[in-house]
Symmetry: C2
Subunit: 585 residues, 2 copies
Amino acid sequence: MYDILQTINSPADVKKLNAAQLNTLAADIRDALFNRLTKIGGHCGPNFGIVETTIALHYVFDSPRDKFVFDVSHQSYPHKMLTGRKAGYIDDTHFKEDSGYTNPEESEHDLFNIGHTSTSISLASGLVKARDLKGQKHNVIALIGDGSLTGGEALEALDFAGSEIKSNFIIIVNDNQQAIAECHGGICEHLNELRATKGKAQNNIFKSLGLDYIYEENGNDIQAMIKVLQKVKDIDHPIVLHINTQKGKGFELAEKNREAWHWCMPFDKTTGKWNVTFPTESYTGLTTQYIMQKAKQDKDFVVITPAMPMTAGLTPDLREQLGAQYVDTGITEEHAVAMASGIAKAGGKPLLVTNSTFIQRTYDQISQDVCINGNPVTILLNFASFEGLTDVTHLGIFAISAFSNIPNLVMLAPTSKEEYLNMLNWSVEQKEHPVMILMPGNAVTSRAADKNFDALNTFKIEQQGKKVAILALGDFYQRGEELATQIKNELDFNPTLINPRFASGLDQKLLKELQQNHQLVITLEDGILDGGFGQKVASFYGTTNMKTKTYGLNKEFYDRYNPQELLRQLGITNEQIIADIKNLL
Amino acid sequence: MYDILQTINSPADVKKLNAAQLNTLAADIRDALFNRLTKIGGHCGPNFGIVETTIALHYVFDSPRDKFVFDVSHQSYPHKMLTGRKAGYIDDTHFKEDSGYTNPEESEHDLFNIGHTSTSISLASGLVKARDLKGQKHNVIALIGDGSLTGGEALEALDFAGSEIKSNFIIIVNDNQQAIAECHGGICEHLNELRATKGKAQNNIFKSLGLDYIYEENGNDIQAMIKVLQKVKDIDHPIVLHINTQKGKGFELAEKNREAWHWCMPFDKTTGKWNVTFPTESYTGLTTQYIMQKAKQDKDFVVITPAMPMTAGLTPDLREQLGAQYVDTGITEEHAVAMASGIAKAGGKPLLVTNSTFIQRTYDQISQDVCINGNPVTILLNFASFEGLTDVTHLGIFAISAFSNIPNLVMLAPTSKEEYLNMLNWSVEQKEHPVMILMPGNAVTSRAADKNFDALNTFKIEQQGKKVAILALGDFYQRGEELATQIKNELDFNPTLINPRFASGLDQKLLKELQQNHQLVITLEDGILDGGFGQKVASFYGTTNMKTKTYGLNKEFYDRYNPQELLRQLGITNEQIIADIKNLL
C-alpha cells in the first residue's frame, strides 16, 4: 500500500516518476486521504478534487523556489503529502503533526498559515512584488476556488493584478462548481459559461480586468495539467489558468453530495456514516426551528448568510422552503452586512448568520453601514466560543473584544435555550438597535428568561448573596452557577450570581449597588480578556475599594488546543478561583 | 443670484423647469457650491462634476419614493440643494446645518449616513430586497464612482446583483476618471476602454457578471442624462448605466488638477489659494521625508497605500521618484494589507499608510493575513486622533480599541518627533512583529527618544514621583506633562509621569513597582475607553489596593464636534482631573 507515495520525500521525487507512476501516486494520495479522514475527519471534497493538479504543480514547478499559495488551504493535504509530510496521512501516530491548513512552521513549502477564504491572490501578489524588487526570477502561483473568488479581498487583488503587475504571476482558478454550499453570484454563472464554451465565452471577466487567460477542462488529468502548467511556467505577465475539476473526485459519496462532504467527521468509508453522535438538542437546531417558524409567520423576515447556511442548520430543502426569504450572498461578508442594513432601513427584518471567525471581515461594515445608521440588523454568530473551532485561523474567542466596543451595537450573550430564543425574537422584532447575538457554545440548558430587552445593559441577579459577586457572561454562565455552589460548600456563604446578558455595556446602577455588601467582583467570559467585558467592569470599579478579578482567555492565537486543558492552564477552574477568592477576601 | 435655485424647495419643483431653466439651475448650483466651498471648504471636484446628473435624477425619478444611494456621498451637495436644503449652500448662516455627506437626520431624501467608499451597491441591494419582499414597485438607484468601484464591498455587491437580483436596480457608474489620486486597477483601465469604444468594448465586465449595461458619454449634459435615465426608469432587472463625467466641471482649477481639488479648505475663487496656513513642521511632513530618504537607501523598502498617498504627503512627483517602491493598490484596503504581508514574508520591508478610519476595513486581514503569520508589516495610521477628522464617518478614535487587542500586533503610540521617527525606522527594519503606528495628531514636539523597541511593552518613566502615576499615551502625552506640572503647583508633590509607548500591552513589572509609593494611576488616551489602553491598566490593578482612573472618549459616534469643548465635557482638563485626584487620594 502507498507504494509510490512511500517513495516521495520531497517534490524532487515526484519529478522522477513516469506517467503511470504519477497516476498510481494519485491513487495512493486518495488512499491516504481516506486513511486520515475516516479516522480524524477534516476537509474532504476539496482535497479529493485537487489531487491531480497538486501532483502536476510539483512535477512542473520547483517548490520552494517557486511559490505556491493555496486559498483557504483546506485543499493542501495532497501538497503536504508531497512535501515531506506523508506520515501525517498514512501513519496514524503522526496525524496530529499536521494542521488542516498550510503552515510555515511545518514546512518551507508552506508560505502562510491560511484558513479564511479569498486571500491567496493578495498574499501571492506580495510575493510577486518582493521578488521583483529583489530582481529574483521564480514563479509565483496562487490557487483559488470558484467559491472563494466572490470574496472582496480576492476581487480587489484580481483587479490589482490585472493592471499593476507586469511580471510572472500565475493565478489558478480551481473551478469545482461549488463553494461549501452551491455557488452564488455573477462570477459563478460566468464560470459556467466559460466552461461551456471551453474558455471562449464573450465578456471574459479576467480579460476585462487586463489579465491573460487560458482554460483547461481536464483538471483531474495529470498529463493535461502538466502540459498546461508547462505552458504558463516562467510566463512574464499575470495569467489566469482556469481549470475544471471535480470536487470529491474519487470518493463517490463526495462526488454526489458535494455540500455534505466538503468537510467531515470520522466516518465509515463504505456507508459514509459519520462515527459521531450529535446531541438531540443544540443551539444550531433551535436556530433552524426559529428561522423556519418565523419565516412562515412574517413575510418581512429574511435570513441572509454569506455562504454559511449550515451554520444555522439550513439544509438545501429548508433553503428551498424559505424561498425569497433566504439569501445566500456568496462568500461576501461585507456585502451581506451592508445589504442587511439596507433591508432593515426599508422595513425588512434581516437576520444574518455566519461563524464568529468570518464576521471579522466586517468590522467596518458593522460600524459604518449598520451602526452609524442605527439600522435594526440582527447578526447571529455561531462558534463564538473557545469550545468551538480550535484551529488558529478559526478561533471564536475574539468576537466580544472586536465588536462589543462599536458604538450602538447591542451585543447579547444568552445563557439558556429560553433566553436565546427570546433574545433572537426580541432582536428581530425591535426597530431601534443593531444587535449581535453570540450563540452559546455549550450544551443546551433550560431556564426561565425575560422576553423583552428594551432596557439595554440591565444585568440580571439570578442569586442574591454577599461578599463575592460573580458576573458570568453568556455560555460561561453555567460555570458561574457551579462556582457559586462550590463557594457555598467550601467557603460557607452565598455569593451573588449575575447574568449580565449584555456584553456591550455595563449596568452601572447594579454595579454600584454591589458595593454595599460585596468586596470582590469576579467576571467570567468566553473570549479574550483584552478589550472584553471583564476589563470594563474592572475599570468601572477603579476608583472604589471593590476588588475585581477577570477570568477569560489571553490575547493569543491558540492553535489546536484541548479546551478543558486550556481552562486549567488559565486558572478557570472552581478550585483555582476559590483559592484566588481566599487570597483576596 | 440663484434665481432658479431659489425656487426649488423639493424635487417636484425641478420637474416644472424647461430645458433652459434646468441649465440655469446647474449654473446656480455651481454658484452655490462656490459660496460654501470658498468659505468653509469641503468636497469640491466630486460635487462640481455631478451637477447635471443630479438634476436629471431628480427630474426623472421621484424621490423619496424612488431611492437614491450615493457612494461615499461626498458628491451629494447638489442633491441636498434640490431636496430642501439649499440654505446650507446659499445662506452662510445655515452652513452648519448640513453635513458633508447624506444624512437621514437631515432629510427623508437621504437613506444612509455614508462616508466610506464602495458601499452604495450593497446598501441599495438591501433596499431592493426589502422592496421585493413587500411587493412594492419603486426604483432603486445606486451611484458609484470609478475609484470606489475597486473596493471589495462594491465588487462583492456587483457580483451579487449580477445573478441574484431579478428586479429593478439601476447602478450608475459615475466615471470621472479619478479616485482621490489617479485610479489604479484593471477596472479603471477597462472603463477607459469602454469609454473609448462608447461602451462597445469586448469583454464587458458588467455583462460578464450578468448585468445589463448601457453607456452615456455626456454625463454633464442634462438633456442627455434625462433621456438615458428615462430609458432605464422602471426597468425590471439590474442594469449598469455607465456615465462619463468631468470631475470638477465648471471650476477650471479643479478640472485641471483633479487630485488637488478633490477636497478643499476655504479658498480664493480667483487665485485658488487656500485661506489657511499650515504649520512648518508636521508629522505628515516628517513621514514624507522619512519615506523618501529610506527608499533611496534601501531597495527592499516599499510604500503601499490603498489610494491615500497624500495622507503621507506623497505628491505626484514624489510618487514618480519612488517608482517601483511605491504601490497605490487602488481603493482596496484588504488587498493592500494582505499584499503587504506577502511582501514581508518574501523579505521586503512594507510600510502601509492610510487613515485610521479606513483601516477599519481590514480587521480580519490584519488578524489573519498578517498577525497569525507574524509577518513584519508596518501599518502607519494618520488621523488616529479625536483632533483630526470630526465627521461621524471619519472618526479617528477607534483604532486603539479595534486593533490593540489583536494578538501579535505591536501598537506604538509615539509622543515626539524623535520617538515617531525612531519607531518608524525600528518597525521597518525589524523582522519579528507586525506593527501599527499611530501618527500623532497634535503639534510636533521634540524630545530625546529611544531607538530600539525590541523589548516589547516597556513603558518609559519620564519623571519619577510619588502618590499619583500618570500614564499618558501617545499624543496625549503632552497633556500628561502639563498635568504633572499642574499637580506639582497645586498639590505640592511630583507625580510620576510615564510614556507607555506601547498601546497593545502592559509593562507589568513597572506597574507592580508603582504600587510601592503610589495610590492612584491615571491613564490618558486619545481614543474611546472601551476596549482601550486604560481599561487594561485598571484590570491589572483590580486585585490590588491601587486606585485607577481612565480618561478618554466615550464609546459614541460623535459628529462634527469641537475637540476642545468635547474634552471639557469629558472632564479631560487639568482642573477636573486635579479635582478628581483630590477626591481620590
